[in-house]
C-alpha cells in the first residue's frame, strides 16, 4: 500500500546517451528495469513506492530520440519529443492538426513542457485503486476494486472490461490512430513497427500490461504517413477541469470529403472509454459515402455506443460518447455546411 510519499526507493540510475545503448541496458536488466521518459508517470509510481525497480533507465540524455523530422513519406517524431514541441511544430499544425490539437490539451503547460509523446502513449492506466497500490487484477491480484457495488468507477470503462475496468488515459493516442501512425519499437530481435491501434493490450489478453512493450523493448519513434495529411480533422476532449485533467473521454476523427460533402474516407477513434484505445471501424464503414451532417453523425453516435456496458457510476459516458462521435463527424464541416449543426463546439459543455 502507498504509505510513504516523496521518498523514492533506491535504484541504480542509468543514463544512456544513445537509443542502442538504452535498448541494450533495458535488455540486460529485463524486468528489473524501469524506463523513464519525461518522468511524469514514473515519479508517481516511484514516490508512492508501488513500483520498486532495481534499475532506472533515464532517456533524457538520448538526443536521437528527440525531434520532429519531416520527409517524403510523412513525419517522424522521436519518442522523447515533448508535447509542447509537437503542439507548436509548424508541419504538425499544418498537416496533422489533429495531433497538435490533442497534445495541446494534455494536462497543463508545465506538464506538456516535460511530458513526451512516447510517455503519453505508453503511460499506465489511472485507476486510483491500481495506482494506490491495492492488489487488484492489474497489479497481479484477484479482484477489481473499481468494479464492485460501491467502487468509485465514474471515470472507468463502458467497453472492453475484462476483470479490469480501467481506461486508457492518453489524449494523443486517438489522434495517432486516426493519422494511421506507426510506432517504432526497438527489441532485442531488432526493429518492430506496429500500427498505433495495435500497440495496446487489453486486459482480456494480458491484464498486467497496457501495451506491447516487454522487458527490454524501447519505443523510439512515431511515424505518421502523409496519407491523411491535410484531411479534415476533429479532436475533442471532455474532462472535469479544463486544465490539468485526464479525459473523461476524447474523440478524434480524420475525414476526407468529396466535393459534394460526402465522406470519402474516414478514421475515427475514441479513448478513455475502454481499457485500450478504440478505433471505431464499424462506424467508419457505416458512414463512408454518407454526407458529413447531423443525421449521419447521429447514426454514427448511436452505432458507436451499441454494446456499451456501464458500471455503477459511469452511465453518463454512453450519451457522452454518442455525442462526441456525432460531433467528430459533423464538426469537420464549416458550420454553414453542416445542416442542423451542433449547438456547441469543442469544449465539451454540451457533449453529455
Amino acid at each position: 500500500m502507498a504509505v510513504i510519499r516523496d521518498v523514492m526507493p533506491a535504484f541504480d540510475l542509468l543514463q544512456p546517451s544513445s537509443a542502442a545503448e538504452a535498448q541494450q541496458l533495458l535488455e540486460q536488466n529485463g524486468a528489473d528495469a524501469w524506463v523513464m521518459a519525461g518522468g511524469l508517470d514514473s515519479f508517481d509510481w516511484l514516490k508512492d513506492r508501488i513500483k520498486k525497480p532495481k534499475v532506472l533507465v533515464d532517456l533524457s540524455g538520448v538526443d536521437e530520440l528527440r525531434g520532429i523530422r519531416a520527409n517524403e513519406a510523412g513525419v517522424e517524431i522521436g519518442a522523447m519529443t515533448t508535447l509542447t514541441e509537437i503542439a507548436n511544430h509548424p508541419e504538425i499544425k499544418k498537416n496533422y492538426g489533429v495531433l497538435a490539437d490533442a497534445v495541446s490539451v494534455v494536462a497543463s503547460p508545465q506538464i506538456r513542457n516535460q511530458g513526451t509523446l512516447g510517455g503519453n502513449i505508453s503511460q499506465d492506466v489511472r485507476c486510483w485503486y491500481y495506482r494506490g497500490g491495492w492488489p487488484c487484477y492489474r497489479a497481479g491480484g484477484n479482484l477489481c476494486y473499481a468494479d464492485t457495488p460501491v467502487g468509485r468507477n465514474r471515470e472507468h470503462a463502458i467497453f472492453g472490461a475484462n476483470r479490469c475496468v480501467a481506461v486508457h488515459p492518453s489524449d494523443s493516442v486517438p489522434a495517432l490512430i486516426v493519422l494511421d501512425a506507426k510506432l517504432v519499437v526497438q527489441t532485442a530481435k531488432g526493429e518492430r513497427v506496429v500500427d498505433a491501434e495495435d500497440y495496446f493490450v487489453g486486459p482480456e489478453i494480458d491484464i498486467t500490461r497496457i501495451n506491447m512493450l516487454r522487458p527490454g523493448d524501447l519505443l523510439t519513434a512515431i511515424r505518421i504517413p502523409n496519407t491523411w495529411a491535410g484531411a479534415k480533422f476533429y479532436f475533442e476532449k471532455v474532462r472535469d477541469r479544463n486544465v490539468w485533467d485526464f479525459p473523461l473521454m476524447n474523440v478524434a476523427s480524420a475525414i476526407k470529403l468529396s466535393g459534394g460533402g460526402s465522406i470519402d474516407a474516414i478514421r475515427l477513434a475514441v479513448n478513455a472509454a475502454s481499457p485500450r484505445p478504440m478505433r471505431l471501424k464499424a462506424v467508419e464503414d457505416a458512414v463512408r459515402g454518407k454526407p458529413a451532417n447531423a443525421e449521419t453523425g447521429e447514426m454514427a453516435g448511436k452505432m458507436a455506443v451499441a454494446g456499451a456496458v456501464p458500471l455503477q457510476f459511469n452511465a453518463y459516458k454512453i450519451p457522452l460518447m454518442r455525442n462526441l462521435v456525432k460531433r467528430s463527424i459533423v464538426g469537420v464541416q464549416p458550420p454553414q455546411q453542416a445542416r442542423n449543426g451542433l449547438a456547441g463546439g469543442p469544449g465539451g459543455q454540451e457533449a453529455a
Binding site: 497500490g133 491480484g141 475484462n162 476483470r163 493490450v201 482480456e204 489478453i205
Partner: protein, 286 residues
C-alpha cells in the same frame, strides 16, 4: 522460495492472492521426474511379470474374445472430461508462462463442461455402474503390502490379480477426484468474481482472506493436475498399458489380457442374452 503470493488488502491485512507461479514448473518437473524414474526402473531393474501365467481353463471357458470394460456412455464421459481438463490446463497456465490470449471465457466455459460431466459421472457411477469397483478394497491393501515387501526382497505371498481396476488406477482416481472437486467448487465460486452473464457478480461473497484461500486452493489443485495429467498420459501410452487405454477408446479388452491381469472372481464377466448389443455385461465400474 514462497509457494504463495501475498498482498496487503485495503484494510491492511496480509492475504494470500494465489499460488506462486513457479509451482507450474515444479509440477511439470514432478510429472516428468515420475515419468523418467518409472521408465528407468522398468529398463534397468527389469521387474518380473506381476502375475505368473496361470490361465485357468475353467475360468477362461465362458470368456469371449472381447471383454467389455467401458460402456459407450462411460467412455464418452471420460473423453469429455479429459478434453475439458486439457482446455482448463491450457487456458489457465499458458498465459502464465507468456502465451497471451483471451483465456478467461474459454476457461470458465471449460470449467462448466467439467462440472457438468463430473455431476453426470457421480450419478452414473452411483446408480448405473458398480460404484465400489473404483475404490480400494481389503484385497488391494493386502496385495499392496505384499508387493512392497516383495519389492524389498522380503518373504510375502504373491499378490492376487487385479479386480476391474489395478490399485494404482484406483489411487489415481482418488487423487483426481480430490483435485477435481477442489477446482470445481472453488472455480464455481470464482465465477462470482468475473462477468459471465450466468451468475450475478458478487465480489463481496467472502472476505479477502477466504477468497485468497480459495484462489490458492484452486491454483494448488490446478498445478496438481499438471503433474497428474503428465503421469496419466505417460501411463496410458506405455506398451504394457495400451490394452487398458484401447479399452477406453473401443470399450473392450482382449480375452488374453483380461485373464492375464484380472481375477475373474473379483471382476466377473457374465454372459448376457444375445439380443443386447453389448454381448456381455461386465461389472462396469468405470
Amino acid at each position: 522460495m514462497s509457494f504463495l503470493q501475498w498482498a496487503t488488502s485495503p484494510w491492511g491485512q496480509s492475504v494470500p492472492i494465489h499460488i506462486a507461479w513457479t509451482l507450474i514448473w515444479i509440477a511439470v518437473i514432478a510429472g516428468f521426474c515420475f515419468m523418467v524414474m518409472h521408465a528407468l526402473y522398468l529398463i534397468i531393474v527389469k521387474p518380473p511379470k506381476r502375475f505368473a501365467e496361470q490361465k485357468s481353463e475353467a475360468a477362461a471357458a465362458g470368456v469371449p474374445d472381447r471383454v467389455p470394460r467401458h460402456t459407450l456412455v462411460a467412455r464418452l464421459f471420460h473423453w469429455v472430461m479429459a478434453s475439458s481438463m486439457l482446455a482448463l490446463l491450457i487456458t489457465a497456465f499458458l498465459p502464465k508462462i507468456g502465451v497471451q490470449f483471451n483465456w478467461v471465457v474459454y476457461h470458465w466455459i471449460a470449467g462448466l463442461v467439467l462440472t457438468a460431466s463430473v455431476l453426470f459421472h457421480i450419478v452414473h457411477a452411483s446408480f448405473f455402474l458398480d460404484f465400489w469397483s473404483i475404490w480400494p478394497d481389503k484385497t488391494d491393501l493386502v496385495d499392496a503390502k505384499n508387493r512392497v515387501l516383495r519389492f524389498f526382497g522380503k518373504d510375502a505371498p504373491p499378490p492376487s490379480k487385479f479386480a476391474k481396476y489395478p490399485l494404482e488406477n484406483k489411487l489415481y482416481h482418488g487423487a483426481v477426484m480430490i483435485a477435481g472437486l477442489a477446482v470445481i467448487v472453488t472455480g464455481l465460486f470464482m465465477m462470482k468474481r468475473v462477468e459471465t452473464g450466468i451468475l450475478v457478480r458478487n465480489p463481496y461473497l467472502f472476505s479477502d482472506m477466504t477468497w485468497g484461500m480459495m484462489y490458492v486452493l484452486h491454483g494448488l489443485a490446478g498445478v496438481g493436475f499438471i503433474a497428474l495429467t503428465i503421469m496419466h498420459v505417460y501411463m496410458g501410452l506405455r506398451p504394457e498399458k495400451l490394452p487398458i487405454t484401447k479399452s477406453m477408446i473401443f470399450g473392450w479388452m482382449s480375452r488374453d489380457f483380461y485373464l492375464e491381469e484380472h481375477d475373474t472372481a473379483r471382476w466377473a464377466v457374465k454372459s448376457t442374452p444375445p439380443d443386447t448389443n453389448r454381448g456381455l455385461a461386465a461389472n462396469d465400474g468405470d
